[in-house]
Symmetry: C2
Subunit: 197 residues, 2 copies
């Protein structure tokens, strides 16, 4: 992990950095996460692959940077996994709603959600965000068959974003975060632990 995807000052010459990010977004959207390479992104941006590594770290770091989230989701999710499976859903939702309820962060997050419905957006989430961010959480929690469980976890979290922050359905949109957590955490915890059909 590098500091480059955090909020605040970003290293590197702005033009070169922006060119790499543009190339990365194009390639992740066109080819998915798996088939995109640091070398290919570097080639499209006209820079040396070592410079991409220097600015952004690993391919996963580059992917998270290309999402242009207003924070690094792995820094947020890491502590959730460290405390083990008990209460993991409650911790995940508490952290998650804390981020979305932050008025400084929300505009950037809304932009990301709108991007999902643009061409290439579904690919970025499906082939990038899930394997780069969500599945590592499931693995760190020690879940069995995480790749079968996590789409259901994602479905409830994505729907909660849509209902509370995009559609602003009341009273959910105005409910204190702890009440939302009380209702939704058992759903997520069940998707973590339930026997699969």
């Amino acid at each position: 992990m590098t500091a480059s995807v955090r909020r605040g000052r970003r290293p590197g010459a702005p033009d070169t950095r922006a060119a790499i990010l543009d190339a990365a977004r194009d390639q992740f959207a066109a080819q998915g996460f798996g088939r995109t390479t640091i070398r290919g992104v570097a080639g499209a941006a006209g820079v040396d692959p070592a410079l991409v590594h220097h600015y952004f770290g690993t391919k996963q770091d580059l992917f998270v940077a290309a999402l242009e989230l207003p924070f690094d989701p792995r820094e947020v999710i890491g502590p959730v996994a460290e405390q083990g499976i008990d209460g993991a859903a409650e911790r995940l939702l508490t952290v998650f709603l804390g981020v979305w309820d932050d008025p400084e962060l929300r505009p950037g997050l809304l932009g990301v959600v709108r991007g999902i419905l643009e061409p290439g957006g579904p690919v970025l989430i499906r082939d990038g965000f899930l394997p780069a961010v969500v599945l590592p959480l499931a693995t760190a929690l020690g879940l069995d068959q995480p790749e079968r469980r996590m789409p259901f976890v994602a479905s409830q979290i994505i729907g909660l974003i849509m209902a509370r922050y995009i559609l602003e359905i009341e009273p959910l949109a105005s409910l204190p975060a702890d009440q939302v957590v009380a209702v939704v955490a058992p759903t997520i915890q069940r998707y973590f632990e339930m026997p699969l059909p």
Copy 2:
């Protein structure tokens, strides 16, 4: 309920009908469901209010027609409620996935979902679809405090649409409908029946 929102032949002169629907969509989007009136829509379309009633029935009928769904959601949801609260979530999801898994219906539904993120889209869902379609289901099921429960129901259903049909997250996207129902129905049933915080 009228036949005008079903698939198939639609009554009324096409131009007049289209003008009424255009005016209705504008006004529902700009003012929400509550403040839109049949009289106001008729005025904007340059027709007599009686003609709007004649073509579309009630304001709720007009709203559902303006959504341009490829079916009338109330005809689908009605039988779910008639059999009572036991198993209601399982029946709702089975009907719901049956509609979405129909290759003839899905393109129209995807268009509606994309419209949610356009200007006015959230208002149509929040102030129209919920009170006109979803809350009547909750009322027919005899749920207490339906207006507090249904946003959570909506959150899981909207998220399931996004994950299975828009983002096409595997293996959820390819899972047989009955397996999806087995995983998600207990979530919805709990939102129907759980004690609220």
